[in-house]
Symmetry: C2
Subunit: 444 residues, 2 copies
Amino acid sequence: MPTKERQIRLTMDELPKRWYNILPDLPEPLPPPLDPEEGPSRVENLPNLLIKTCLGQEFSTDSWVDIPEGLQDLYKQAGRPRPLFRAYGLEKALGTPARLYYKSEFYSPTGSHKVNTALAQAYYAREEGYERLATETGAGQWGTALAYAAALTGLKCTVYWVRAVYRWKSARLAFIKLLGADVHASPSMQTECGRRLCSVDPDHPGSLGIAISEGLEDAQNDPKAAYSLGSVLNHVLMHQTIIGLETQKQFEKAGDYPDLMISCLGGGSNFGGFVLPFIGDVLTKGKKTQFIAAQSQAAPNLQGEYKYDFADHAEITPLLKMYTLGHQTSMEPIKGDGLRYHGCSPILSLLRNKGYIDTVAYPQDEKHVFENTLRFIRSEGFLPAPESAYSVCCAVDEALKCKETGEEKVIAFNVSGHGFMDMEGYREVLGIEDASMETAEATA
Amino acid sequence: MPTKERQIRLTMDELPKRWYNILPDLPEPLPPPLDPEEGPSRVENLPNLLIKTCLGQEFSTDSWVDIPEGLQDLYKQAGRPRPLFRAYGLEKALGTPARLYYKSEFYSPTGSHKVNTALAQAYYAREEGYERLATETGAGQWGTALAYAAALTGLKCTVYWVRAVYRWKSARLAFIKLLGADVHASPSMQTECGRRLCSVDPDHPGSLGIAISEGLEDAQNDPKAAYSLGSVLNHVLMHQTIIGLETQKQFEKAGDYPDLMISCLGGGSNFGGFVLPFIGDVLTKGKKTQFIAAQSQAAPNLQGEYKYDFADHAEITPLLKMYTLGHQTSMEPIKGDGLRYHGCSPILSLLRNKGYIDTVAYPQDEKHVFENTLRFIRSEGFLPAPESAYSVCCAVDEALKCKETGEEKVIAFNVSGHGFMDMEGYREVLGIEDASMETAEATA
């Protein structure tokens, strides 16, 4: 009998002490990063860019990797372990026989799951003597998380932020600055790559690929700086498995097990972190769980081509074998901006290719996404980030299917962040009037 | 030896099952609410306005009041119990020998501790057959909390929101509407009291006192509606003791006990909720803890006069014996808007009068408050609400005193809410430039 508790929580001692590395358990070896036919070797250049420990983890063949004690402390300081909630309110609101559970990454101090790898990368960078971290950010969650991790570990932090987003997320911009980081709208005048684009258009809106190129170039030119990436790479997904490993312990405590797991997917870090330990159970223990990645039709990278492609716009990274829309493809803006990336992590791409991961892509007007999420907000009371709204939306759709079939499916979904700094998105998409400037007469 | 853990957390079973009612333990009987010399009896009218169970609790002589099981479930759904954090990061940043602990009410789904009484009031209102809750809000936290509680319990909710604040908190306004509540800028055309003020100035900025009057008048005229107040009253403070009761259990688990407890104080609900169980220990168990209420010089109500005064602008409430600045006094705007109230809860006023509570009021430019809080943000990583910043500020000041004296004082402070929807305040006070509209050329 599954527990009746609203929350399944872990004690401090139950914080996972190792990450799960799925590489050795994959159904076939992961295609390695490659160099393009022309130009300098990107693969050989990786040690100049990445934190050494992270680069080692990128290719590790160990199934389990210890989380250093000092980093466990940082995870605890960030509020881990986080509760798993049983969504009784939502179940009732939907009238579904499904049992719904959601993981609360929205409790993150910066508002997203990104802190899980930000803290790990900052911790290792400090150990290795780096003084500064350079990175890019699109929606802003990753930049905020790295600024946070740098503050807590005493490092400097430089963030290149896609100008089109930087423009309208003024609250988040203030937060990153509060945390002490340097932030530049990208393309910027700080890098060769940025200057080239700015010379054509000083008001260039930028893209995630361009911002990655700037972060890479910045770190390349400063031996005291390391580059940090917030998604896609193997070690990033491994750091994020803390989410799924906690969730596994919580399902054990709850006396239940998911038939279906759902999360949103941009580059793949929260999705991978949430599901990889459970996919491990499928691969090694004969479990039958189904996995759905919720995406936007603005960037349905899992419906792209499975091939080698660059991870960035300026082709500084090696080629990665992944589902991709093309590394210089432009994508329409959406409120769930963090999902707007051209490629999916190589690990998840391989698993998708082998049939372990299903995908759904919602229309880019986002109406269905936010309307489904509104049902969650009004019954569970938590405010998901616009990206996490895709995860919630898919869970609601699946729960409603169970209502039709009568199936008592156990559905687990990850709410990867909160939406307190992204209220504009809800207001615009749901058509909530901003009446704040009306006088009393006008409303009479 | 106190624990070395970063977080002290409770299991679900350890959620307190009773609130603490300090009334019978007070050093002398609490002066009762009174009627003014003229006009209708406000005291006799209370049953027409307030939820019956709450009115009963207002005058209860039981030291402990059971939290109904259904309400315990709602508390759990809202994420309770909440962790107590040991502030190792801040201690190190300050170089203080003091041991600092903070309670994490910032984990609230709506961003403030107000949900603790909002859920209780909504729960009882539904039990009593009410269909709607009417209330006022100043800073917006209480209105958000009641909208949330109404959504979770299936009630309607009407919020009268001080126009001057309603104007600039557009994110919070969208959130309240997302939660399904009706919101009116106050003074509004919905009530007699509002129409009178609007006829003079349709753009009247409003005040908390006026908004209370509108909420009261609205509930008075609709038998299906109850009025809910978010602070000041005895039952509100009692509901909030869930904070302090959890904190007591956590200190027991931590093997430590506070010498000094600090929180911000507007009407008194988060301060009271946090400290009353510990003041109970002082009154009945001979403990020696000191208590400091952090206020603004814009509304230093604990430095006002201890006398009978109305709780609202339009004199609809009974007279309450409290420290007050006068119920029609105007107060300068501050970012910590939730602290801008003319009077302090009768219970806390009595305790202040008897010497159990100290107070400090910070200059209304708020520079010192936000600068001290910045040290917390960069070392602990959580973003306090502007109101909670006063609590943090005072804790930092006290920890720095210990640095001078070498005293290993145990200091506990409450972070009553998060600041994700109030970033403007930090930006303006700390002079963080909003460079979002600059082009790359301008920053070159």
